[in-house]
């Protein structure tokens, strides 16, 4: 009982941290979320807040994630 009392908060923290990570991973590899971020990138390019070079760099990172996400889907 004592052991349980001492470990319970830690278990909870670990469980919560795992859940947060799972949710972060889900968003990180969600093709729709990646497409939304690509659209935002395009908007920043159109509005002039992002240069062509910055766009290309960030697009490549997102496309790599998109390929991984699609790979996991199939």
């Amino acid at each position: 009982m004592i052991g349980k009392l001492f470990t319970w908060p830690l278990d909870t923290v670990v469980f919560a941290a795992r859940k947060v990570k799972e949710e972060a991973d889900r968003q990180y590899y969600d093709p729709k979320e990646i497409q939304r971020q690509l659209a935002l990138l395009q908007l920043q390019l159109d509005e002039g807040t992002l240069s062509e070079e910055e766009y290309d760099e960030q697009e490549e990172v997102l496309l790599e994630r998109y390929r991984q996400a699609k790979g996991e889907e199939s």
């Binding site: 990646i34 497409q35 939304r36 690509l38 659209a39 935002l40 395009q42 908007l43 159109d46 509005e47 766009y55 697009e59 496309l63 998109y66 390929r67 699609k70």
Partner: protein
């Protein structure tokens, strides 16, 4: 061999389509017709296409070309079918839906209007809000707000922005909806964006719509940045999505 589907066109689609550049390769574009309705496709040798800017531009280019030829129902980016018989099956499946949609979209175009609030305008509005003024005064007096106060500040800011979005959308939707056939509100893409809408406009009303946008621009240009785009195929007014192979 597979087929990248750009959308469904009324009639036979005609000839001499421009080539489609997808994943860095040039593919032939052709219509596949059954009974006065055709799928506009590229015959491709791969099934997965990145949503890159180059590929998206190609999708936009071919769908725009189709839209100038006949009434056209654009598909969303990346729709690939494995065989010609799948394309024919798609046409058969979508025929009842397409026949209903064609007359509603005939001689119509989509235009987009995005509005972003100017920083100075936002500050000026915020300085007139009693709630935000009170929070700011508290912060200046105490240096740092405690947790509950920070939550309260967040909620007050969100309510302030919500009210601003509603006021602006009302000012724009009301006059523009009188000219457009239909309007769709899309997601706001960043915190300063106050409106992101698509309008379906009959070509006879294109000039009147442009004039109204210009009038609104003259009225609001000191407060908002305008991004007015189009004409586009009616992407936001057609809900057709097919998964490859289905």
């Amino acid at each position: 061999m597979a087929y990248y589907v750009f959308g469904i066109i009324r009639g036979n689609g005609g000839e001499n389509w421009p080539h489609a550049e997808l994943n860095g390769k040039s593919y032939r574009v052709l219509p596949i017709e059954t009974n006065q309705m055709a799928a506009v496709v590229a015959d491709v040798n791969e099934t997965s296409f990145d949503p890159s800017r180059k590929n998206a531009r190609t999708h936009q280019k071919i769908t725009s070309e189709a839209h100038t030829r006949e009434t056209f129902l654009p598909m969303s980016f990346g729709t690939v079918l494995q065989e010609k018989k799948d394309v024919k099956k798609l046409l058969t499946t979508l025929r009842p839906q397409a026949e209903k949609m064609f007359p509603k979209l005939e001689n119509r175009m989509e235009v987009g209007l995005r509005l972003t609030a100017d920083e100075t305008y936002l500050r000026e509005l915020a300085s007139r809000s009693p709630v935000l003024k009170n929070i700011k005064a508290k912060q200046q007096k105490k240096g740092q707000l405690h947790f509950g106060e920070r939550l309260e500040a967040g909620e007050a800011s969100a309510a302030f922005m919500k009210e601003l979005h509603e006021n602006i959308q009302q000012s724009f939707f009301k006059p523009l909806s009188k000219i457009a056939d239909s309007v769709k509100s899309n997601d706001l893409m960043h915190e300063k964006m106050v409106m992101n809408a698509s309008f379906l406009v009959h070509e006879e009303n294109e000039e009147a719509f442009d004039e109204e946008v210009n009038r609104l621009h003259d009225e609001w240009k000191e407060k908002l940045s305008f991004t007015y785009t189009g004409p586009w195929p009616p992407f936001n007014f057609v809900d057709i999505q097919m998964k490859a192979g289905r």
